[in-house]
């Protein structure tokens, strides 16, 4: 495995200009800045409507240096295929095609096109930033909103259903690389993108990106909350490479330490979880413990 990137070895070149339209403390903004460094200059991006559309700026201003095709909400992955084939037809295969979508544009309306492209094995990288809701339209529930979260259209009772496990769905397509990452661990994200780019076929990286206004916390806690999600075992960092599952980075260390922070510590940092009862918190903890029990056993 390649040496881990550190803050000292991270490339200096910026592809996101200073100043963009994301909220203060936006996890996406961090992931995007570091992610574009990993993608490098020979890249064309594809972006569906989402907070990222807004982050990128309003015509004729763009906040990033890479060429980008804005597409309809459902069509990111299909557009990636079309772009790839066009580049092939023109002998420009060296250019990387990267779709970067929100959880709605990935897990919900975008999943048909994404599944189709992954089944075809088309050679591109799909990055999903998961802020666990439709933030661009005002914080409605999405397939990846966690159970119990209050959103604009689950305003009183919170979302009743559990979070859709998109990385598992993508891994079930039998593609060679699926990984999870978090904007709270940007260097880990950087290395995973680099690794994905070195592989052929469809690659998928799911990035947990805390969202201050959507989740209900102060912007200065964006990193802290992202880390807590991992430290509590609520959101795990892993890779599925050629079918092999492996916890990575901070999550891998947690298996060694066997000391998860109680999930209540994570849930209480965000006002979206304000309606959770102690029983529901205990239920969430029990689910995490079961999942981690499995991780511990496979690492014995």
């Amino acid at each position: 495995m390649a040496a881990k990137t550190t803050i000292l070895t991270l490339p200096k070149e910026e592809f996101v200009h200073p100043g963009n339209r994301a909220c203060t403390g936006c996890g996406l903004s961090i992931a995007y800045r570091i992610g574009l460094k990993a993608l490098g200059s020979d890249t064309i991006l594809i972006v569906p409507p989402s907070c990222l559309t807004v982050l990128q700026g309003l015509f004729p201003v763009a906040s990033t240096k890479l060429p980008c095709l804005n597409v309809t909400f459902a069509s990111t992955a299909a557009a990636a295929t079309g772009m790839l084939e066009a580049l092939k037809a023109q002998g420009r295969e060296h250019i990387k095609v990267v779709g970067w979508a929100g959880d709605g544009g990935t897990a919900d309306i975008g999943i048909q096109a994404l599944s189709g492209a992954a089944e075809r094995g088309d050679d591109f990288l799909f990055l999903c930033y998961d802020n666990e809701g439709y933030m661009n339209t005002g914080v409605q529930r999405s397939g990846t909103t966690p159970r119990g979260a209050v959103t604009a259209n689950t305003p009183i009772k919170g979302k009743m259903q559990q979070k859709k496990d998109v990385p598992a769905i993508m891994a079930a397509h039998g593609i060679d690389y699926v990984a999870t990452a978090s904007s709270a661990y940007p260097l880990d994200l950087y290395d995973k993108i680099k690794k994905a780019l070195s592989l052929q076929g469809t690659k998928y990286i799911h990035i947990h990106t805390p969202c201050p206004p959507g989740w209900g916390f102060e912007p200065r806690y964006a990193i802290k909350i992202g880390r807590l999600a991992v430290e509590t075992g609520y959101y795990d960092l892993y890779e599925v490479e050629k079918g092999e599952f492996r916890l990575t980075g901070a999550s891998e260390k947690l298996v060694e330490k066997r000391q998860l922070v109680p999930v209540g510590e994570y849930l209480k940092t965000q006002s979206r979880f304000r309606i959770l009862t102690p029983e529901q918190v205990a239920d969430t903890q029990a689910r995490i413990d079961r999942k981690w029990g499995g991780y511990y056993r496979t690492n014995e």
């Binding site: 015509f59 980008c68 309809t72």
Partner: protein, 421 residues
């Protein structure tokens, strides 16, 4: 070279000759054999293109949109519900000014399910900003694909080439396959004004404000309204660009003529029946039969429906007594869209403009037709029998014959030819 083949093969041969580089499609009857043929050409190594077997029509057009934005010549084809499933992308392709070509093999839309021919699918995409051409036979299909690419690329506007499901797609007719060398002279390699390129980055289709806005260099950039205004202006200009391309094609291949409308025995006609697609050639037989009975009647085929050739239509109909418009589609709740468009053109050019004729010997003011009568036929593939058409038109003429200078049919709403209620 003359061959005998079906309409879908004619289209596939046209796409091959045009050198489409990226083809994305999803199967739907009666389009399927067209895209199967293209897949076969590519797998057999007869055609150098990328074929994408997408998982939906929405994705088919998404792939074409991205391919075209990246600078490749892109093609897709569909029918009926497949076309409707693309609807969002159809608007997008036009707004993004991408010269994609799509064959629409016309079929009725559900519900209920019906796989047979009418024009409801493409007519319901009328207002998307695409150019719409309608072919009447196999020669017009194969030639039409080449002209469609030429027109799309000259105007940066996508083109739908529509042809009748089964009636053309699955019937065999002789037609000439254009010579490859001549095609090379007619259709130059695709060079878009901009193609996505990391060396020259641009952010395409970003959120655009209602008003104009300064860019970082201090130059004023278009607002959404300017972008849409230019689409409309360029679509109107496509009427003359389309004719220039038709002329160029005629000079190279020796066939073609009028890109907008196709009149048949209209010169001395008192009545003209207007339609689109294969129906207009069937109507030629009807016209011949009615002429044998002494009726002065002709046919006007609309070849380019969007942009609407209002001037050409008004010129062709300015001196006639009555117009029948036969359509295989409806704007439900009113009448056929072509009928409404045609009335608007006549109003614009003949009524408002004071007419282009003067009183004729019979004293009748020939400045405008006395009536425009809408008829609906062949919905969901109902057989359009030549006898029924003849009867309907004969009855239509009789009903208005005694009605004086402005005598018009009593019933305003379209009559349905062949309805069995």
């Amino acid at each position: 070279m003359h061959i005998i083949e079906n309409g879908n093969v004619a289209a596939a041969l046209g796409v091959k000759l045009a050198g489409a580089q990226v083809i994305a499609a999803y199967p739907i009857t009666p389009q399927t054999p067209l895209t199967e043929k293209l897949a076969e050409f590519i797998e057999a190594g007869e055609m150098r293109a990328q074929y994408i077997p997408v998982e939906s029509e929405h994705s088919a057009l998404a792939a074409c949109i991205a391919a075209s934005s990246t600078g490749a010549r892109a093609f897709t084809a569909t029918s009926a519900n497949g076309l409707l499933y693309m609807h969002e992308q159809i608007h997008w392709a036009a707004g993004a000014r991408l010269p994609i070509v799509m064959c629409v093999v016309n079929r009725a839309v559900g519900a209920p399910w019906c796989i047979w021919n009418d024009h409801q699918d493409s007519i319901s995409q009328r207002d998307t900003g695409w150019i719409q051409m309608y072919a009447c036979d196999h020669q017009q299909i194969i030639d039409g694909v080449l002209k469609a690419f030429a027109l799309a690329e000259a105007t940066s506007i996508p083109v739908m080439l529509c042809y009748d499901g089964y009636l053309l797609s699955h019937t065999y007719m002789p037609f000439e396959v254009p010579d490859e060398g001549k095609v090379g002279r007619f259709l130059k390699p695709f060079k878009p004004p901009y193609a996505l390129d990391p060396a020259n980055p641009a952010n395409l289709n970003t959120v655009t404000l209602p008003d104009v806005r300064m860019d970082v260099l201090g130059e004023m950039a278009h607002g959404y309204m300017e972008i849409r205004y230019l689409l409309q202006e360029d679509l109107r200009a496509a009427l003359s660009v389309g004719q220039e391309i038709e002329d160029e094609f005629a000079s190279i291949f020796g066939r073609g003529g009028n890109a907008l409308v196709e009149p048949y025995r209209c010169d001395d006609a008192d009545y003209v029946v207007v339609g689109m697609g294969s129906l207009t050639y069937q109507l030629r037989d009807v016209v011949e039969a009615l002429r044998d009975e002494g009726h002065k009647i002709g046919v006007l085929g609309i070849r380019l429906y969007r942009p609407f050739p209002d001037q050409a239509v008004a010129e062709a109909l300015g001196a006639v007594r009555g117009v029948f418009v036969i359509e295989k589609a409806l704007s439900y709740g009113y009448e056929g869209a072509l009928c409404s468009d045609l009335k608007a053109a006549l109003y614009e050019h003949l009524v408002k403009g004071g007419g282009n004729g003067g009183p004729a010997e019979d004293g009748r003011d020939r400045g405008q037709p006395a009536f425009v009568k809408g008829l609906v036929a062949g919905i969901g593939g109902r057989d359009i029998r030549t006898l029924d058409l003849t009867d309907a038109l004969r009855a239509g003429m009789a009903a208005t014959a005694g009605g004086g200078a402005k005598g018009a049919p009593a019933e305003e709403r379209p009559d349905w030819i062949g309805i069995k209620l």
